[in-house]
Symmetry: C2
Subunit: 415 residues, 2 copies
Amino acid sequence: MIGSGFGGLFATKALRDAPVEITLVAKTSHHLFQPLLYQVATGILAAGEVAPATRDILRAQRNARVLLGEVTDVDLEARTVTSVAPNGATTIAYDSLVVAAGATQSYFGNDHFAEHAPGLKTIEDALDLRARIFGAFELAELEDDPALVQRWLTFVVVGAGATGVEMAGQIAELAHRTLKDNFRRIDPTRSRIVLLDAAPSVLGSFGERLSTIATRQLAAIGVEVRLGLKVVGVDDTGIDVVDHEGHGQRIESMCKMWAAGVTGNPLGAQLAAASGAGTDRVGRVEVNPDCTLPGHPEVFVVGDLMALEGLPGVAQVAIQSAEHAAGQIVRRLQGEETGQPFRYKDKGSMATVARFHAVASVGRIRVAGFPAWVMWLAVHLAYLVGYKNRLTTLLHWAHSFIGRGRAERVVTRRS
Amino acid sequence: MIGSGFGGLFATKALRDAPVEITLVAKTSHHLFQPLLYQVATGILAAGEVAPATRDILRAQRNARVLLGEVTDVDLEARTVTSVAPNGATTIAYDSLVVAAGATQSYFGNDHFAEHAPGLKTIEDALDLRARIFGAFELAELEDDPALVQRWLTFVVVGAGATGVEMAGQIAELAHRTLKDNFRRIDPTRSRIVLLDAAPSVLGSFGERLSTIATRQLAAIGVEVRLGLKVVGVDDTGIDVVDHEGHGQRIESMCKMWAAGVTGNPLGAQLAAASGAGTDRVGRVEVNPDCTLPGHPEVFVVGDLMALEGLPGVAQVAIQSAEHAAGQIVRRLQGEETGQPFRYKDKGSMATVARFHAVASVGRIRVAGFPAWVMWLAVHLAYLVGYKNRLTTLLHWAHSFIGRGRAERVVTRRS
């Protein structure tokens, strides 16, 4: 297994009772529950709540061992993987390989944007964004010039998908509720939160009705939604955009974040080149219908790194494709016929817009508002790993949603 | 107020109802509950639980404002303070000044030890140590050479005061309980945890009886206590010590930490030089019996930066001296006589050695074992700021002490 995200973890768990020896190699020692990462960035949850130690999750699974390391090379002929850790490189032989190395933030060729508008893919990203967001209010409090104050209090989120909407919604909650009485000179409720996208709608994948409701709700909590705008520049003090007609505009802002796109882990391109498989435009590997690499029935690519029938890069696809790969491995061990195509069962998708307000799309049902928020709550609690995490998460949520506090505001680095 | 530790925070709170305008300047945006910092380092607590946002604690106190900044200069004649933040310097005028800038780790002139044996004074320190401790187990799992494995699994704590004892005790718990089933190649229970001190006893300030009990208890949980040893060198792979007779010895260890001494914030030396006050051998300012700076009845130095009658650098001294300073400020405002000497009421001290085992010294009473541990639990919960923090802390403690988990094992930087 390569990766400790949903793909690597669920593939490992699915092989719990199989007569195999599993080595899970990952570059972090934790499993990241990415759908709640934005809550770490906005001070609701502690890092440990969304990132339990992988080896602790798997401690009772005796056929699995966990190794820290970044896989830099896969030798498809020799069937070995090279993993690099701070204390040296290791070569690991495999009979079957599940590649679940995931995706990273994409700046569409403008990687220099990253310094000024970090993404939200790792715990480091979340803690960096937390420092930038809370730091912006701190530094605004120190400014005398109203223009500079406003620049610190303008937050720009690029990308109006689920992550972007959730980030913008939470920053609005921060500004309007959490920080209300915290300052003496600035008024946090006068913050400007801008949600930008080149697309014509927010949460496009949720369908027109939910998109409209979400847009209205975002406006109600104070998020300025700006669509049809392409980002052409990001620097220390602002962001430059152009509209469809080519008219440019600048938004002065010290705190920008990027939630506008992903690209497959570079390992994907390497595997594709070695096997002759194609990659799609976001660097994901085009696999066979059974999730295997063309010409290599022993190698599976699952989750965010897999390009198959346009399936989106969401947790459910990662979990189900990983379980499919595990099933195929077991069948092959038992001498049964393999090659069954992966069939994705869409369990729906949801996004929280604000406190007590979410949108959910499940099958043909579209729900919005409080009922969707309750669904969101239940589903996320159910999927969180570990009972203790569920309990403290519930407490943090009660504190943030019913009360108005944020327990995890600790900032360790200044931005 | 300079500083957001116990001194700055309690002085501010004590002036809640006084007709004053308070500016609290601190270089972190959180108040640090330092006595539990070792639990952040060992993965029991989240950073937010011991470091709530200062401005959130003070949000209802309308006469207090909180500014982020490091005070680099105090002009005693002009009665101004210069504070430097990432976006510029500010000069703040004062009528009364309470300096509670605290202390930092001291390496007794060997500052180059710091890189290899970090101290435990800030949240950054705690997260750095957390990465080193959990990282050492991860990297040990990757080694083939038994000598290298043992080097990763040897943990050296320098300084057998309360912090050192608590760190060593928690690492022993980690190795023997928490990580028990987490690894496949290494056996964490074979870790070596060494607690070093140049002094002849552990927890010397607790008296002979408690010191003996603590030493015995440390041995029982697998901590190797080595006394009368002076550290003469620390490098990447080990630590060099000499005994009283000058015999040298090397302990091979990748993970070292320093809890052996503190030195006053440099601001102390500056104030002493400007006012003609003396400093003691650890850089604390020698103040008048009423905590004022000699010749400056309007300037108070409290807490860890204050040298007065040999009072120790503990939370209770900081809290009580800060409240004394606040009382003096109020008396001066009301035209009453000032100059009353600060009288410290020793409420006792305690240290946890292991799960369910602590030592406590209160007045003439000496308690050890489970009763002392229950006292420790009650006192620390009572002093934690905020109800939510108490609740989640209690949950984390139940998880770690009754269960055997550590919820906060997230490592963001590799050591």
